[in-house]
């Protein structure tokens, strides 16, 4: 059995498309577009959590964080989507 290591798991919570993102829209419209970055076609904001997890391997670290996010409602499934990456 592998010895536990500490993995850094990254969680990003953002509004679902239908829920709108007034902050992302404002950054895009009033800063980025107006400053000449015409190749940029849209911006979405979100909340970022960096989670240190002790686990035997990367996959189980990710599973644990996903479970934590669901159980503790780190995101509200009615409005948010979430990505979890190790």
């Amino acid at each position: 059995m592998q010895r536990p290591q500490v993995f850094m798991v990254r969680v990003v919570v953002s509004n679902r498309d239908g829920a709108g993102d007034p902050e992302g829209d404002t950054i895009y419209r009033d800063l980025v577009s107006k400053s000449g970055f015409k190749q940029v076609k849209g911006i979405r904001t979100g909340k970022f959590l960096k989670v240190s997890v002790e686990a035997p391997d990367a996959a189980s670290a990710k599973t644990l964080v996903s479970k934590m996010c669901d159980e503790l409602r780190i995101y509200n499934p009615a409005a948010h989507s979430i990505t979890v990456e190790v």
Binding site: G18, A19, G20, P22, R73, I74, N76, A78, A79
Partner: protein
């Protein structure tokens, strides 16, 4: 009969004393300020979760308070049919605890909106609206940054069909016009209830509209919500 009502204080609550004061305008009410860790929360005839910024609104407004021991007790009381009212941050907490459907997102304007508005009663059979009539317009203030109700189209249809959209922003004549919607909230929703109708959350502040002298419009419409609560106990 004296009705015993708990106003739950979280770290960061700041409308708690206003709520106690509003409740004490009724002679037959014993209103207590109860710290969120107190086991006695479950022993009250009605529970009010007041406005403020519980736990600094960290993570998301209401998300941390929703996991506090108080909400476990509130959930048990809700299941027994106890009237539960969430005002502003209290509404956010009830949503984050899953006691009410949907979500409350940042206002479309990205501004904290603080003003007197008018709302229309859409369901007059909940524990907090039974003293009103459907279509009645209340004058009441709002003060929040995250009050834009949102949910999927399917859930919106389901909760609307079930009468769970209790209050909608409207103009003074009760018309739900876009200009009467202060935050971009979905379908003009200002407050919702659970299926049973004993748990109600709303963004406006009824406790700030219980004494005419404190309102620029002389409004005491917020009292109707507390009076309905007392009729439901």
């Amino acid at each position: 009969m004296q009705a015993k009502v708990a106003v739950v204080r979280f770290p960061g609550s700041n409308c708690d004393l206003d709520a106690v004061s509003a409740l004490r305008t009724f002679r037959n009410v014993e209103a207590d300020l109860v710290w969120h860790e107190e086991p006695s929360i479950g022993e009250y005839d009605a529970i009010v979760l007041p406005g403020g910024f519980s736990f600094g609104d960290y993570l998301r407004a209401g998300a941390i308070a929703a996991r506090s021991p108080a909400l476990r007790r509130v959930r048990e009381s809700a299941e027994r049919g106890t009237p539960i009212l969430g005002i502003c941050n209290g509404f956010q907490i009830l949503i984050e605890a899953g006691l009410l459907p949907g979500s409350l997102l940042r206002n479309n304007s990205l501004r904290f909106v603080c003003k007197w508005v008018t709302i229309r009663v859409e369901n007059d059979s909940t524990s907090f609206t039974r003293g009103m009539r459907k279509g009645q317009v209340l004058r009441i203030p709002i003060a929040h940054n995250e009050g834009r109700f949102y949910t999927s189209e399917r859930e919106l249809r389901e909760l609307s069909d079930a009468g769970q959209a209790v209050f909608r922003y409207s103009d003074e004549r009760g018309r739900p016009t876009p200009s009467a919607n202060p935050t971009g909230t979905l379908d003009g929703i200002a407050g919702v209830c659970n299926r049973a109708g004993n748990v109600v959350g709303l963004m406006p502040h009824p406790e700030r509209a219980t004494e005419p002298i404190l309102s620029p419009f002389g409004s005491a419409d917020g009292s109707l919500i507390f009076r309905s609560m007392l009729e439901s106990i």
